[in-house]
Amino acid sequence: MHQEWVTLTVLFLPFVGALLAPFLTRFLNHQAAWPLAIVPALCFLHFTGFIGTVSSGQTVTGGYPWFESLDVDFSWLIDGLSLTFALLVTGIGTLIVLYAGGYLKGHPHLGRFFSFILLFMGAMQGLVVSDSFLMLFVFWELTSITSFLLIGFDHAREASRRAAIQALMVTGLGGLSLLAGLLLIWNITGANALSTLLEQGSALRDAPLYLAALLLILGGAFTKSAQFPLHFWLPNAMEAPTPVSAYLHSATMVKAGVYLLMRLNPVMGDTVAWETILPLFGGATLLVGALLGIRQTDLKLMLAYTTVASLGLLVMLTGFGSETAIEAAVLYLVAHAMFKGALFMVAGIIDHETGTRDVRKLGGIGKAMPITFAAAVLAACSMGGLPPFAGFLAKEEIYAGLGFANGWTILLTIVAFIGNALMFALGFAVALKPFTGEKVETPKKPHEGPALLWLGPVVLAALGLVFALLSTFSHGIISTPMASAVAGEPVSVSISVIPHIGLPLLLSLLTVALGVIIFIRLTSAREAMASTLQAIGWGPDRGFDQAIRGIIRLSALVTNRFQNGRLEFYLTATLGLLAASILIPMIALGELPVLPDFPDLRFYEWAVFLIAGIGLAAVLWARDRLTAVVSLGIQGFAVAMLFMLFGAPDLSFTQFMVETLSVVILALVLTRLNLQPSDHRPLGQKLLDVTIASFCGAGLGLLLLRVTQVPFNAGLSDFYAQYSRVIAHGRNVVNVIIVDFRGLDTLGEISVVMITGLAILALIRVATPRSTKTAAPAKKSEA
């Protein structure tokens, strides 16, 4: 029986764990890993409860309303695909938390690390079970953000910061592309949840905007799953502590893109675009990843490039379009999560116990670390596709799925063949080279790590064996439901470890043979790759640096151009825009005012307007500033006269007072300044300024004229006229409004005036030594 609130609790449980982690770590140090591992373990247990329902072919959905006005729910969808992912995320998550306790034992920020890794787990778990698009997107971005925090965990190193920013930039931009894609799909189909979308069948495929939606979705999936040429962030993410690399960058997060593709395969797959783009990019990623891996000497980087290659292989298989290929992708995904997680943890143990990860400086430590060695070999066997491991099943199915039907499939088979052989060599290079051969002096004396460290790899490597040996059982609960969900129709996976004579087996044998050859000649292959890459020189990783610098330079250029520190420029731009935003719509929409009749004014009224004009003109043409100030007074008094003549005596008095004060203060200050007599602007500047000012003035004037020509709403004025006497007991309506109806406003206004006064006082009183020096000539001129 599916209890919705339990699932909801489980979805939020890791976030609660993340909150508790720092406190637990304060009291228990690295032993906090044990109680904290209960969190993912509980989630894992909860998801195992779905196995019965899902393996019988059913889908579990549930959820709660979220934004009801937008018809968006907080809802989940649990079928074979999301269940497998959820089990991987929570199961490996449990092992990783334990491993991190051993790996980062004694680290000053261990609590923070636990917190981040649980946050990530919550995000990833939410991502794979999300049903509604919005929820999917939110969790998707949350994985990018937590990945940023984890890669940059060692933030004191520049390489970490760079890798973190790079990962965030690439996956974050991909996330935006995904959002656009999801919105487009919502728009096309009307479905805003995966479950409703999956019910629609081929509606999306047949839509005219299908290709645009596909490209946007691929933008999200390819960045997240590090497809060539956007693969470069993944190897750089190896700057993160090894538990992060093992968890995020091999087993879970980087598979989110593959998850998305698999999820959408039933509704977006089976088209020419899908079956061309995916194998093309996937195949290229497979080859590039495997070839670049050969060059590396750092254990983690070798594994990282094989992860890139594996992701390419998964994308290629998902896009291939045959049922067997999908089965192969499913098997490979599960097998990869187990062996790659284990190998990463092994690389971390080697680094932790010997002090180096350089494969050239390691050798013969197998005697000192037998358990780790055993786990490494088991995982490498699975990675190399040897029977009876899970990787073997996957490889058989890959070759069976691709086949030799035509030139295109033969090409893909060859790509898969080369990639698999290279990965075989790299897997065994990581698992054998450090442990076997002659003993090499390492920075630390190697010895077996604590149980916290080796538990994870041992369990995962052993699972790879169990999965294949009990293939009927594991197919029943994992492979068949997942493959059915990806294919969109019931599929039955039946491959077992018993070899069946045929072409796939032959190819497997050839792969192993080629892999062994490469393994033996790895050193010379590495040198050959290194010199080839040296010759090429440029790569997308360097391109990223160039792009970032270019963006910084461009923004500096734009900023310096538009924020050049010149007030004049800012004002010109602002006023120009003001004029345009008033005049253009007014003319475009035909809202120009009607020209009214010539005003019927009395002669003294004309005189006041004339005085105002003269005052303004005198300000403009004044020879020196003192004249300008006095002329300023003229226009101010003219305004006061206007108020007086047109029924506003209160305004008039205030205006008279304020203008007088302004002129007096301004004149006082001016006499203390030693200024050049007048304003010099070049003629061109003058013309430009006059034009802009005139357009602004004309625009505002026209706007005002238009305003006076619409019907006047006197409601509020009438209210005041009606009630000033009756309610507020005052006869001067203007005064009543100010001190009574809007009394609080007036109080605010008084505070403003007071604060201004205080500020002025402070400005005048504060005198620095420098100011007394420059003020000296001003005093002289006063005298």
Partner: protein, 125 residues
Amino acid sequence: MDLIFTLTVAVFFTVGFYLMLSRHNIRILIGIAIFGNAVNLTIFTAGRITRLAPPIIPIDADALAAGTANPLPQALILTAIVISFSFFAFLLVLAFRTYQELGTDDTDDMRVAEPKNEGLPPLGY
């Protein structure tokens, strides 16, 4: 009557903006003062102009008689005049202190906050 008021407002705005486009602090200040008057006149005009009596209730009445001026814009303008005066006074003192500190009233020479030829921001991570 609206026409002549609108024209006046337009001229006030134009002169105010023209002065504000100057590079000299004092000219800008004068421009702001004129701009303030322009805004007040705009509110006044938008509340409809009348040559009639001021909005005062006669001693023998309880409400404002029809045909008096609109009290609402007047109240608004009264507030605006006082606030713009405070603003003006504050700016004036700022300009004065700026002159004392920097020895200039030319805005182009005031580059303390935004120095000329600022280099590129850091290009690293």
